[in-house]
Symmetry: C2
Subunit: 695 residues, 2 copies
């Protein structure tokens, strides 16, 4: 399924079924565009009512063409569209791009028609893009099987950006944002209902185009996570960043997406984890893509996040300082000699620590800027530079500022972002080749994004050893009982609480002696995965006689409930400092995910949880735990020691390995609580429930 | 202190000390501007080296002027500036606008000079704006005592907006954003170091200008909260929204602000509460001001938040649905007859529920838009309308869309926001008089803002009854002991736990009988406000003999610690469902604040707290509790009942009344825990500590 779709982006011949003479009609646009943008293959308009269309010979039918075209654009709609697709498949067309709407997005009937049409095509070896799509466009080859209005409104220019979008409208919005910044766009592909070809297919294809340097995606549903992950890995190997907007984040959005492209819902925090795991940056919206694009294309891949701010406005310094804290771009501490040198050049009332406020004195002396910048270029404390000129104009030598800043950027060899609210000033900086934003929020937001994204991309996912397949005890029941669950975890090196599964009261009393008091006593039965709801858990038992009573009572209770007796579990009561939880499950789309976070009875109410996608290492768990609300408690607060995050991370890593190794045989695992002590005291899995998967 | 500063915004005469012939110098700009913008009073350039400046007669000194000017602009710097201010004060000038930097923002010495200069001026009855300011500008009167470069770069136009800013640079940024949207700006005042005149003074003054319809503030520190509050109340009575950017939110920002304008730090969450309390909207940055300004000026004050979305792009519908959920603008349920009517007009594959996706069919039929909109205008479920046209151009009749939308907006009589990414489309809608944004995020963000702000402004703060002054028990110690603290709270109607302060063991045993078991036993001593640190708290005591032992042990312990014995408090142990906390303190700038939230030992670690500014009512407490992370627990979760939020709110209201009534005699109160039960079961203050204030 991961062929590079050359037939989609560089076909040798294209037919348009439903071609129109009018270039503002859907059937007319693609022909106009291909002629205008130099498509070098054959173009075959198909329209039984005309002999010529836009100066090209028009054919009455597909059968009448002098050759079988590689790509066919199906403009006709309804039953005619289905018939055209079938005919294309029968004649050996490589790919049909189906613009017609009224398929999967309209409900079950439309889905059935769409599915059947796609199955027939695939059986014949033909791919389908769409239906309900605006089509595909490659300005490198001129293959514009696309009716986008924006290719008239905003002059196309071939360049390093590829846009792949489920939505035609959003592909245009992103195209427009790029072109508005003067950035060239080579690919603009919309996949619509994704009956066959998905965003992942087209992303995989454009990532193989040697001219592409940045891939921008819009998705409402991740239909093929395996191929998208492979694409991300491949793009990463070529240092191509992928930025994705994944809409339908909310219930309302998912409902709207379902009527838009028939998209299926994804769980949003799993989407987050998936993108992070594969080094894809998730942008909030197309605007955020527009803001960061130039930074990516300039090759910004900063190694650090320490920021230096220079402005002629004190307020801009203040706002940049606020943002630096918010965005985790700490203000760099400048070397003493840098500070002294800066102080020597600026008036006494200017601020010479970072942020550096040149003040309105710049109005009286346009040289201040060029005096100060070179002093900063080589400061070892800086990773990123931000220069903000919110105010200038008459009386200021703006051209000189731009020249000075450009010289500085090339001397520093590190990212330099400019902000200028006034278009006239911004234009001067842009003309000098600098990456320029409207204000501090845009500039620092983009810098934080590329810094975080570069860190994700650098995280070369080592070739994780494939663990040998994990096997579960034989059985058909949905859940393992607790004893089986704990045994499975222990077998995979996870720290379960010391315990003994007892078949008799005598055995239980012996366990009490061996384990030490107090103990917890729990009845095991595959039939009753949720023991405590049935009063089958007793805690804090220290006396042998009481233990015996409880043993018998629990056994009778099982009988009364008609549940199999599989032993009574006696476990050492474990005290610790906090109850955490670790869970794992198979997401229906993305596969195994691991959840780690605060435990206790409100785990689902407070949801103070991090979600990770295996494989991952302990460092990744530690990092995600730092985002929890209870992070200060884990770090030690109110005189309490730091907790054993290391041990918790090891449990999460082990759970991630186990669910992967189970190859679908585990549907979910719930370890709650995992009791952790102070750092060095370890973790203990006190309760566990493993659910079998279908595999 | 709350005079309207007519002398600042409409002086009859202005002198410029340090006037310059060069209109691009600081001393030349104001003269250029006043001449250009029709100042009708007298302009007196003062410069001993010239007899004429920019065509006006120049004077060698203040003494040489034919009259004492009302406003003097002091351009000279350093000692000369101080001397000029002193001379102005001596001669009876009403206000000196001091542009010179190098005062309070540079450190202690500068602060001392600034303070002394200001005191001399005030003693003589003269006000000072600045120092370290860009000055004041009123395009209504032409009194432009201001050197802003932007008044050259962007043509001024008198209008309904007033900008008041500590920072000159930021005043220009906001001015530029307004003018860039074609909005007229009357006032642009910068207050700099605020030695005397603050943002509040200028806000108060511009709020009295009958032409002003919107006030925009930039602050780094709230220097005069009393006047700012009065201004907000007055502006509210005139239906003038005030929107404020308060920078220096973070520690880094506060440090930068201190070197910028010498601004003192405010606690940021208190700033939030203050603005909310007084109906001032806190904007994130100037950009957010720019985005919402037209909506305010159109008079949007929506009563509800139910949103209808219409677009020709399905993806825009999806993204708007996501945002509607995020911003709390629920998608309106359209009436069945509305939906049926919409369905009858659109193609079968279009979505006729809200959001309404007209689809790319609009390209083939530009009338669809005008067909559908009128059907929505009178739907009773809608409060707000959002129309998004991310894509159009050749083949679309954009002018017709704009006409149809304008007709719809006037028929609906409710806010209608347009989004159009392409400038050509946006321009058409703007020309038709519609409020137009670049994308869904901007449009819905602005709609959510005006809806929330309107709700704050509507909350007419009733004339809260002034409670009679609360008195504390006599004493000089910083803290009341627990018995005194509980008594004070009980006297003010607050539900304290049943208890008895016992002087003897016998009395304690009697209390045990009366209160019922178990009890808590705590030693009271003004000398030891934090009892538990000293082992002076025993919990769960049920037996008289044990109580007697504890009584004697605690008494001896007090003696051993050299602390006064003020009785042993015996209190009924109270069980409930959750430990909450209520606190109050006097903020050094803003006065009384009340904190309510989750209690327990991690109260300061997890900070799941809401901050309110008294006076407030129970409804306001309930609303702020809905923002807590534990809100689902308060509402009832996992089969647990809802908790008694009503009783907790009553405690918070009572605490707010008490700290106000104490008129500074209470510095802080800490009620932790306040145990609450299920709804209807009430709240009990179990532990309380009251700290005396300086009043």
């Amino acid at each position: 399924m991961s062929e590079v779709l050359t037939c989609a982006v560089a076909p040798r011949s294209i037919a348009v079924i439903g071609a129109s003479e009018n270039p503002n009609k859907i059937g007319g646009r693609p022909i106009l565009y291909m002629k205008r943008h130099g498509f070098r293959g054959a173009i075959y308009p198909v329209n039984p009512n005309r002999t010529e269309i836009q100066g090209l010979r028009s054919y009455p039918s597909l059968a009448a063409l002098p050759q079988v075209p590689e790509l066919v654009l199906v403009i006709v709609s309804g039953d005619a569209a289905v018939a055209a697709v079938d005919e294309c498949a029968a004649r050996g067309v490589r790919i049909a791009v189906v613009l017609a709407s009224g398929f999967g997005e309209t409900g079950e009937q439309g889905r059935a028609v769409q599915r059947a049409m796609t199955e027939r095509a695939r059986a014949a070896g033909m791919r389908i893009a769409g239906p309900n799509t605006q089509g595909l466009a490659n300005f490198g080859t001129g293959a514009i099987a696309n009716f986008s209005t924006l290719f008239i409104e905003i002059e196309p220019k071939d360049g390093p950006v590829a846009v792949v979008s489920q939505s035609g409208g959003m592909s245009q919005v992103i195209y427009g944002l790029m072109r508005g910044r003067g950035i060239g766009v080579r690919h603009v592909h919309a996949t619509g209902n994704e009956a066959d070809v998905t965003v992942a297919d087209m992303a995989w294809t454009v990532a193989h185009d040697p001219e592409v340097k940045l891939v921008l995606l819009y998705l409402e549903s991740v239909a093929d996570p395996v191929l998208l992950a492979r694409t991300a890995d491949y793009a990463n190997s070529r240092d191509i960043p992928i930025v994705a907007v994944k809409a339908a984040r909310s219930a309302s959005g998912q409902k709207a997406a379902s009527s838009h492209t028939g998209a299926l819902a994804n769980e949003d925090r799993v989407v987050d984890a998936f993108f992070r795991h594969h080094g894809i940056w998730r942008a909030r919206d197309p605007r955020a893509m527009g803001l960061a694009a130039e930074a990516y294309l300039k090759g910004w891949r900063p190694e650090g996040r320490r920021l230096v701010v220079v402005s002629n406005s004190g307020a801009s310094c203040v706002m940049a300082a606020d943002l630096s804290e918010e965005l985790g771009l700490p203000l760099a501490g400048l070397a003493p000699q840098t500070q002294a040198a800066v102080a020597a050049r600026l008036p006494g009332f200017a601020t010479t620590t970072n942020p550096i406020d040149i003040t309105a004195a710049l109005l009286q002396n346009s040289g201040l800027f060029g005096d100060v910048l070179p002093l900063l270029a080589k400061d070892p404390g800086a990773d990123l530079f931000f220069i903000n000129i919110p105010v200038a104009g008459a009386g200021y030598d703006v051209e000189r500022f731009a020249r000075d800043a450009a010289a500085f950027a090339s001397a520093a060899g590190k990212p330099v972002a400019i902000a200028a609210t006034q278009a006239s000033i911004a234009d001067a900086f842009r003309a000098a080749g600098l990456v320029t934003f409207a204000d501090e929020e845009e500039a620092l937001g983009a810098m934080a994004q590329v810094a975080s994204h570069a860190a994700l991309m650098r995280k070369q996912r080592a070739q994780w050893p494939e663990d040998p397949p994990a096997t579960l005890p034989p059985g058909k029941d949905r859940f393992l009982n607790e004893a089986q669950s704990l045994a499975l975890l222990a077998d995979h090196g996870l720290p379960v609480v010391p315990h003994c599964v007892c078949q008799s009261a005598a055995q239980a009393k012996a366990a009490l002696r061996d384990l030490g008091t107090p103990v917890a006593v729990k009845a095991c039965s595959t039939d009753l995965p949720h023991k405590s709801e049935h009063g089958l858990v007793a805690l804090g038992v220290s006396e042998a006689s009481l233990l015996e009573t409880i043993f018998e009572r629990q056994k009778l209770k099982l009988e009364a409930l008609g549940a199999r007796f599989e032993g009574i579990l006696v476990a050492r009561m474990r005290t610790g400092r906090r109850e955490m939880m670790v869970g794992a499950r198979l997401d229906p789309v993305f596969g195994p995910v691991v959840i780690v976070g605060d435990g206790g009875k409100y785990v689902e109410t407070l949801k103070d949880l991090a979600l990770l996608m295996p494989p991952f290492d302990a460092a990744e768990v530690r990092e995600s735990l730092r985002g929890l609300r209870i992070a200060p408690i884990l770090a030690g607060t109110r005189g309490e020691p730091a907790l054993d995050v290391e041990a918790l991370a090891a449990v999460a890593v082990g759970v991630g390995r186990l669910i992967r190794a189970a190859r679908g045989r585990i549907a979910s695992m719930d370890l709650n609580p995992v009791i952790i002590g102070a750092a060095g005291e370890g973790a203990a899995i006190v309760d566990a429930l493993v659910e079998r998967g279908d595999a």
